[in-house]
């Protein structure tokens, strides 16, 4: 399915298919950094850990999980970003 056919609510889509943990969360976090507060982002992943780690990341970062959809091996999670916090001390 091309991006043009995705529902509008999905916002920007991060394609993390074929990537293993923690890369799907890292790609999503990188996209979040470039998006504004309250932006909607969707990640598509095939890594089984993403199902747990994307919601855990959202909780840690104050984002909201809007939808989780599993279609075969493919997992789609949509989040709405919270107020973007200042970057913490990872350098």
């Amino acid at each position: 399915m091309s991006d043009a056919h995705r529902p509008v609510i999905r916002g920007a889509v991060v394609d993390a298919r074929g990537l293993n943990c923690p890369l799907p969360v890292i790609r999503l976090a990188a996209a979040a950094k470039d998006a504004g507060a309250h932006a909607i982002l969707t990640v598509v992943a095939t890594d089984p850990a993403a199902r747990y780690d994307v919601p855990a990341w959202a909780r840690l970062r104050g984002h909201e999980v809007l939808a989780i959809d599993q279609d075969g091996d493919e997992l789609t999670i949509t989040v709405r970003l919270g107020e973007l916090p200042p970057v913490t001390g990872i350098s």
Binding site: N20, A29, D53, T88
Partner: protein, 385 residues
Amino acid sequence: MNSVTRVFLDAGGSAPLHPVAQQALDATFREGWAEPDRLHRESRRARLILDGARQAIAAVIGARTEEVFFAPSHVAALHHAVRGVARGRRRVGADVVTTSVDRAALLNAAEFAAARGNGRHLLAPVDGYGRVHVETMAAAVASPGVALAAMQHANGEVGTIQPVERIYSAAHDAHVPLLLDAGSSLGHLAQPDAWDLLTGNPADWGGPAGIAFLAVRAGVRWTPDWPTDKDEGGWFPGGVSVPLALAAAASLEAVVRERPDSDAHRRALVELIRDTVPRTVPDVQVHGDPVDRLPHVVTFSCLYVDGEALLGELEKFGIAVGSGSACTSDSGKPSHVLAAMGALTHGNVRVVLPRDASTAGVERFLAVLPLAVQRVRNQIGAQGL
């Protein structure tokens, strides 16, 4: 020769051998090597040693000697306990109730036994600390058609102690037997008198690998669904290694005797780790109940970290830890315990302190961890997220 002093912090289910166990093994391989069921003097000597080992374990767990059966492994003890009781109570029902954070061997056995009897395997949910939801599990245990309830005393991955007495009370009221997996707690915590069947794992407390035990209260209904013989009451056909049994029992007595000291020592080190890591490593989630926990287990997950790469970095510093991250498992799946808790599963570090863990070793681990995490984050391009 390796010049770096090793720091071993991965003792869960595989602790360094206690010196008492080593002594018992040496002596018993000399004196008690004989098969214990024959009529000559050598065999009778082995039988006496085996009976003594059984008696010692029974005394520690508050059971009668004849209620203790030696198993060839902790996995086998759990499998046979679940299968035997499920088979024996098949007229009552075929459902098996567990928590969602029990060890894989117990969950697998529950799934197997329930499916074979056309029953259901019911998994009670846990909270963010990994503690089972008491009301939900109690209600499941009290529902019609339950053959067996089974749960851990404490979680070996995150350390949280389960509300065993309350589940036992609910099971008792419903006339459902409770199998208690003490594989991560025996030798480390005082044992609750709240079980109908109980398993213990010597390799976890500093006894030898290759042996475990199952204790079964008199009156628990069970039927073997495997070909059996007279050995170990029919629970574990093929008999038992007498030297391993004695080493298991002697080391259990020793660790229980030493617990006042080792408990305080290890709790202080766990506290140090729980306190230090969130201050020195950015974006860390520390798991498990902060208070009601095993004295020697502490687990945390580092955001944006590849668990396997982190274990490799620590290994370069001579430090051995465990992990529940997917990339460190054979299955490629993350720890079902962390998943059930809703915790971050990647970048997971599991520290299980052996009884004689040195303060200097833990301090070295804490000193190198921030650097190791930073290196792994830099390698994967997670700076500034």
